[in-house]
């Protein structure tokens, strides 16, 4: 069995455990309920050998910057991260991520708050690579107030903070569906079959046919052609969802490629080392009956 298979199986196991738990939480009497299992985004970074697709990360950054960033912060991200090895705008010719010309240009497009060094007053200035991605709201309360009471979550580590990771983000963004007839829904809520939740209390239809999914405060954020990709890729909702999910997967774990590649080396070393030690063990114990 390949390592990839093992990883997937364990993930499936964990997911089914989680799904089972959600089912249990929802309604002990019903087998229905819970969210749809996320669809696979077919990402290049899946599996132990997978790496991020730089073009996809660049497109994903554009979707984040032009769509998501209007409401969602990414507090753990700095512009310099974009130019790090394996990042969307990595340039092997740049001396360091901060000197990367793409990163400098992308940073300069964004205004960030600062304190004037002479007057001490709050000012806005173009960002430098060392700056964080600015937060669209001054604080959590303001974020909640501007969004009907539900503060948009920070996206920095979103792929690690949800079961299903990038597949979940992709499925959620591209999976908005009209609420089935018989579901009581308020004006500030939206139905998504991939969102965790329990629809039983809001369902007027057949109790055996409770729809999957849950309510989400965010309306469907993407529409076909909303972003114009620089590489000519057609900006469908599916494509944009995939690309931004990949970008968030990278931002959640920017060292994933380095990790997996060094893991292969470490495992190879340990296997050889174990082999040698076993040979040594057999020779040392040769004369002992045990």
């Amino acid at each position: 069995m390949s390592a990839k298979k093992v990883t997937m199986d364990i993930r499936k196991l964990a997911l089914s455990v989680a799904a089972l738990a959600v089912v249990g939480a929802a309604s002990p009497a019903l087998a229905e309920g819970g969210a749809h299992h996320p669809r696979s985004g077919g990402f290049t970074f899946d599996g132990p050998f997978g790496t991020f697709d730089q073009g996809q990360l660049q497109r994903g950054y554009k979707v984040y910057r032009e769509v998501c960033a209007a409401c969602h912060s990414m507090d753990l991200m700095h512009f310099r991260n974009l130019g790090e090895k394996g990042g969307p705008f990595y340039d092997p010719h740049a001396e360091n991520p901060a000197a990367n010309r793409f990163v400098r240009a992308l940073a300069a497009e964004i205004e960030v708050g600062d304190i004037d060094t002479e007057t001490g007053e709050a000012i806005m200035r173009p960002a430098t690579p060392a700056d964080k991605f600015p937060n669209p709201y001054p604080n959590r309360t303001a974020a909640a107030a501007a969004n009907g009471g539900a503060a948009p979550p920070d996206l920095s580590v979103m792929a690690k903070a949800r079961h299903g990771g990038a597949d979940y983000i992709y499925s959620l963004l591209s999976g908005y569906a009209a609420a089935p007839a018989g579901l009581r829904i308020t004006a500030t809520q939206h139905y998504n079959p991939y969102m965790a939740g329990d629809m039983t209390p809001f369902w007027d239809g057949d109790p055996e046919q409770v729809p999957a999914g849950g309510f989400i405060a965010m309306p469907a954020p993407l529409a076909n052609g909303q972003v114009t990709y620089d590489d000519g890729t057609e900006a469908t909702v599916d494509q944009m969802s995939k690309d931004v999910a990949a970008f968030i997967a990278w931002s959640s774990d920017p060292r994933a490629t380095e990790r997996k590649q060094s893991g292969m080396g470490v495992l190879a070393f340990l296997a050889i080392f174990a082999g040698i030690t076993y040979a040594s063990y057999r020779r040392i114990w040769k004369g002992v009956a045990h």
């Binding site: 310099r80 901060a98 070393f269 040769k286």
Partner: protein, 181 residues
């Protein structure tokens, strides 16, 4: 002890291969030890966010003649001093002074076309205290901790400090703006 359960005799010629296996296992163990220790040691080196702040830009036109502004670069104070004509004349005259410990001309410590502007790291080369300007015997800085005297070019003239105040790597990027680092 255990002699009776252990056969000590080994057939001739077998010994070399046997030793090789044990030596290889031992070497691999040492290699594994180094592999485990290195990431720990390396984690103490400056992190990426620290390195990202390793350059700083500053407009030197803010510094009036005869004045000094202290900016921070990599957590250390940097003196940006706009020297007067009199100070400049004096330090150039001292280029050949016999009491210079580390022989440097003032021109070597400034940029062509920006001679009055001296940029030095404001930490005494003795043990790191911050020297003050205006006191001392050479019209420059004086370190109160252990009595090192620097001239207005930041060169050590008297006292325990071994070297001149360090001129960081910097360049004039546009007009009067400098980028350090």
């Amino acid at each position: 002890m255990a002699e009776s359960v252990v056969t000590n005799e080994h057939p001739e010629g077998d010994a070399t291969r046997r030793d090789f296996i044990h030596i290889a296992a031992g070497a691999a163990a040492v290699g594994a030890g180094v592999m485990m220790v290195w990431p720990l040691v390396n984690s103490m080196n400056p992190a990426a966010d620290t390195l990202a702040l390793s350059t700083v830009e500053f407009d030197t036109s803010k510094v009036a003649e005869g004045m000094q502004i202290v900016i921070t670069w990599q957590g250390k104070p940097v003196f940006v001093r706009n020297r007067t004509a009199a100070e400049l004349t004096r330090v150039i005259a001292d280029n050949d002074a016999s009491d210079l410990k580390e022989r440097q001309t003032d021109q070597e410590r400034t940029k062509v076309g920006h001679e009055p502007m001296l940029i030095v790291i404001g930490s005494c080369t003795h043990l790191g205290c911050i020297p003050t300007f205006g006191s001392g015997d050479y019209g420059g800085w004086f370190c109160p901790c252990h009595g090192s005297h620097y001239d207005a070019s930041g060169r050590i003239r008297k006292g325990p400090a071994p070297k001149n105040l360090v001129v960081p790597n910097y360049e004039f990027t546009a007009g009067s703006t400098i980028r350090i680092g």
